[in-house]
Symmetry: C2
Subunit: 263 residues, 2 copies
Amino acid sequence: MKAPRDIPSDLLESLRSLGLTKYEALVYIGLLRVAGATATEIHEISGVPRASVYPALDRLAQKELVSVSHTTPKRFDAIPPAQGIENLMRRIEMDAESALAALDVFYREKDVEYRGNQELVWTIYGEENIKARLSDMFQSAERSVEVLASWSLLQGNVLALLKPIPQSVQVDIITDSWRGERPSRFRVSVHPLGALYEAHAPPGRGLRYENSGVFLVDDAKALVWMGSAGEQPSALYSESSGLVQFVRRYLASVAEWVAAASP
Amino acid sequence: MKAPRDIPSDLLESLRSLGLTKYEALVYIGLLRVAGATATEIHEISGVPRASVYPALDRLAQKELVSVSHTTPKRFDAIPPAQGIENLMRRIEMDAESALAALDVFYREKDVEYRGNQELVWTIYGEENIKARLSDMFQSAERSVEVLASWSLLQGNVLALLKPIPQSVQVDIITDSWRGERPSRFRVSVHPLGALYEAHAPPGRGLRYENSGVFLVDDAKALVWMGSAGEQPSALYSESSGLVQFVRRYLASVAEWVAAASP
DNA sequence: ACCTTGTTGTTTTTTTAGCAACAACATTTA
DNA sequence: TAAATGTTGTTGCTAAAAAAACAACAAGGT
């Protein structure tokens, strides 16, 4: 017989986000280990109270994760993980699709209600959301795009978004290093910016250098990317004169400083 | 101002399976409708108690579904549904991946513990699981494969699985109709089986004709596919002599009956 | 002086987890 | 074979956790 071996709690968390309860997860894991077990055996190996094993198994069967034998006592078997998780994901994806369809209906009725929208400063959470907003900004550019960003951020997230910008728009980039070929399309200025950032943010706190950047489009839309190392990144976005002014001056002064340091 | 319009509960269900609570879902939907609303406005449009709007918004921000403005009062905005749902799915898919990796570790340690496994009759739930099992059966075939199934089932689910069967295996198929070219690879026998099925199952109850089938491999492995129209299909599978004998006789008698009716 | 926002507790409800007891049947023991 | 014992599958009930709903209030704005 086997011990009710400890299950890493982040596995239980992952399975929960796939729609399983703790007991369902434990029972399924138990079944993966024994193959064709009875309810009592599952109880022993999983640590789930025997009486709770039955309802858990019922739900697992509904979710297409276990098969049931017609013997007495009943025996149960787990669908292999790859197939099982695929079964769960299929359901979730169907939910995602129908939810998306339904949500789009609401979204289309949206009241824009021009609330002096341009006066606001927004905080945007999550890399994808920030990239989406940046992409919108760049696509709306008519005259100028100014970028001040660490190379890692540029390389990983920004450069691809800059590509669709038309020739008629002047693109200035200031960064701390550049690997690979230097595109002639952009006006690139490379300079070690470490000192600059450290002057503004005390080490350890505040903006870490690695993944931050400042973006300005047509002197009218500004975005500040703040990547707190490891954690979820966030950004400030605004079309308000306040933040835009600040960013304009900041970029100007950095550009000046860089020009002075490397003629 | 807008009424706290009714939200279809299956939308809330779908969003719940994507990891949102009822309040989170209602707040998000509310935000989709107004664009840049204050907490109080969200409260009014969504029907969520005002005090509960704030924690819900916090969690939505963590989940990358809303942005926040830095005004007083704060204003909030929803990420568009397509992007938002993609953000949710990304997390879930990551969970699925890591869960799969962890589960596979357990799965590999599996005790086979030959429990006279071939004595059991298993119930398998879900189309994908049944197809996986059928595929295994067919791939293990060494001499014969016998199929009795409605055309819709054959066409939709089974035919593809029959392809990889080697030439050396004799494949017999009985079905009620056949559209498209008749493959010479298989010994196909087409006959309207309606009468047969109705004789066995009273109309309304029991096996519906449309999506059912019987499969036998090497006279040793049998699977009975039961498709209760619309609902989740299930199947019986066995290598036990009991069910196999039954299926053998059943198939034999049907084959005989068909042969007699259409010489 | 009054209203609104953002926040903090507290209560109620729902869901999940855990436990106790039992009838039906199967297995052993006398 | 009959009593004793054990196991399985259920049912119902209690406890804990999570979510929902409400009450109250300080801070600031009008």
